[in-house]
Amino acid sequence: MLGQKLTSGDRLLLVLALIFVAGLYVVYWGQSVYGNQAAIAIAGKHWRSIDLYQDGMYKVQGRLGISQLEVHDGKIRFISSPCDTKQCIHQGWIGQSGEIAACVPNTISVRILGPDPRFDTMNF
């Protein structure tokens, strides 16, 4: 089958396929340090994933109450939480694949996911 000559239609389709693949590379791998999803966990259990390119506000019910998350332009942050220290809010925006933010007292964590993690883990 592959020994047959390529027709002009084949060539056109191949070129389109290569352009498509190159486009995918730029979109998903070209800026791979940035994640495309955030995995939200409550008390260590996965709750849901959020698309980082769908701007919006999310309310998450934790042990102490509701934490609010804001998603904007590929990043996410805690904007309110019923914890004492507010460390989760002070951390600000995260968006690089592998970054994590957590409100430990409220048992909520947010982890950035991407095709090739910029970081395997975070030190702080």
Binding site: D10, L14, A17, D84, Q96, D116, P117, F119
Partner: protein, 360 residues
């Protein structure tokens, strides 16, 4: 009929061939940069978020391994907690009697190791100042609101000079000659627990893993063909300060003034208390220690924070750690030269870096 059949067959063949090429391209693309074989789980333990990553195991093995260390960590947290009911809080109740009493065997190695590290640090890391920590209000799940303790109350505790050298351990019997001693392993128990968790993983045959307890971690082995990549969060704001690829067995622990603090009348009081002055240590924003042992890295991060810009190098050398990155209040970075080619800074403008003499 035959012609149309041949034509249809030919089109189908062309489509199959083109589709195959697309599939090959996509499969090549999808194999790039993916991270197969990483088992990830997180749970709450030691009052913080514990993350475990294991490379190269199936889900069943990963799940069993994490379950095993979850049990370890829950037991250690309950046993070693300074202010919640458990073995250590019982010890703290009995220490003022100045009489021998029996202690749980699991606390003995913690006391021995804590004493050793305290001595090496010149008591800048001092787990015997539990009363001082309590006086400042940090021996609690809730943050203190202020006001800070009085200078008189602080001085009264300092005058009694509580230290690990005041403990007398005879088998499973413990007493102290100094009634001011109260144990608080907050500056070191997490590191000790991470070491035990990693050793447990090794016993289970796992050679490539990260155990991260609230931002402090030990990594063994690699992530497949590459090293584990660690981001070091910017202590002065959002984002990442630097990144580092870990050695085959390396712990990275950070102590910072942003972790637990309160403000009173415009002044910030954080949780890292200098055992010599009795007040929160000043001048440093964070200290990151790199070492093969998590317990030593943990204790050293506290000790070097207390030691400050002038004395951190001598204390790091005495404690025998492998590498140090200290960030001052003005953003200047003091660093050991062995980290120069390993730590990549992600912030702009590039920070001012002052390299020390080598530690070895």
């Amino acid at each position: 009929m035959l012609k149309s059949f041949v034509s249809a067959k030919c089109s189908a063949t062309q489509l199959t061939r083109s589709g195959l090429l697309i599939l090959i391209s996509l499969s090549l693309l999808s194999s790039c940069g993916r991270s197969p074989g990483v088992y990830y789980e997180q749970f709450l333990g030691f009052g913080t978020l514990i993350e475990v990553k294991i490379w190269g195991v199936d889900e069943k093995t990963g799940r069993q391994a994490v379950a095993a260390i979850t049990d370890d960590i829950n037991y250690m947290h309950q046993t070693w907690h300074a202010w919640k009911p458990g073995s250590l809080s019982r010890i703290n109740q009995l220490l003022p009697t100045e009489e021998f009493f029996s202690i749980g065997p699991s606390v003995i190695p913690l006391i021995r190791r804590g004493s050793e590290l305290a001595e090496l640090s010149g008591n800048r890391f001092n787990p015997a100042i539990g009363q001082l920590i309590k006086l400042w209000g940090f021996a609690s799940d809730e943050l203190p609101k202020g006001p800070p303790p009085s200078a008189t109350a602080i001085q009264e505790l300092l005058d009694q000079k509580p230290g690990m050298q005041d403990l007398i351990l005879d088998g499973v019997q413990l007493k102290t000659s100094n009634p001011a001693v109260r144990l608080d392993f907050g500056g070191f128990a997490k590191g000790y627990a991470v070491d035990i968790a990693i050793e447990h993983l090794k016993e289970l045959g796992i050679t490539n893993a990260i155990v991260n307890a609230g931002g402090d971690l030990r990594a063994i082995g690699k992530h497949g063909e590459r090293a584990w990549r660690v981001g070091i969060r910017n202590p002065s704001g959002e984002g990442v300060l630097a990144s580092v690829d870990t050695l085959v067995d390396e712990s990275i622990f950070t102590s910072g003034d942003y972790e637990r603090y309160y403000e009173y009348q415009g002044k910030r009081y954080h949780h890292i208390i200098d055992p010599h002055s009795g007040y929160p240590a000043r001048g440093v924003t964070s200290v990151t220690v790199f070492d093969s042992q998590a317990d030593r890295a943990d204790a050293a991060a506290t000790a070097l924070f207390v030691a400050g810009v002038d004395e951190w190098y001598q204390v790091a050398k005495a404690m025998g750690v492998n590498g140090v990155m200290l960030v001052t209040a003005d953003g200047t970075i003091h660093m050991t030269p062995n980290l120069k080619d390993r730590v990549y800074f992600d912030i702009k403008p590039a920070p001012k870096i002052i390299y020390s003499e080598p530690l070895e």
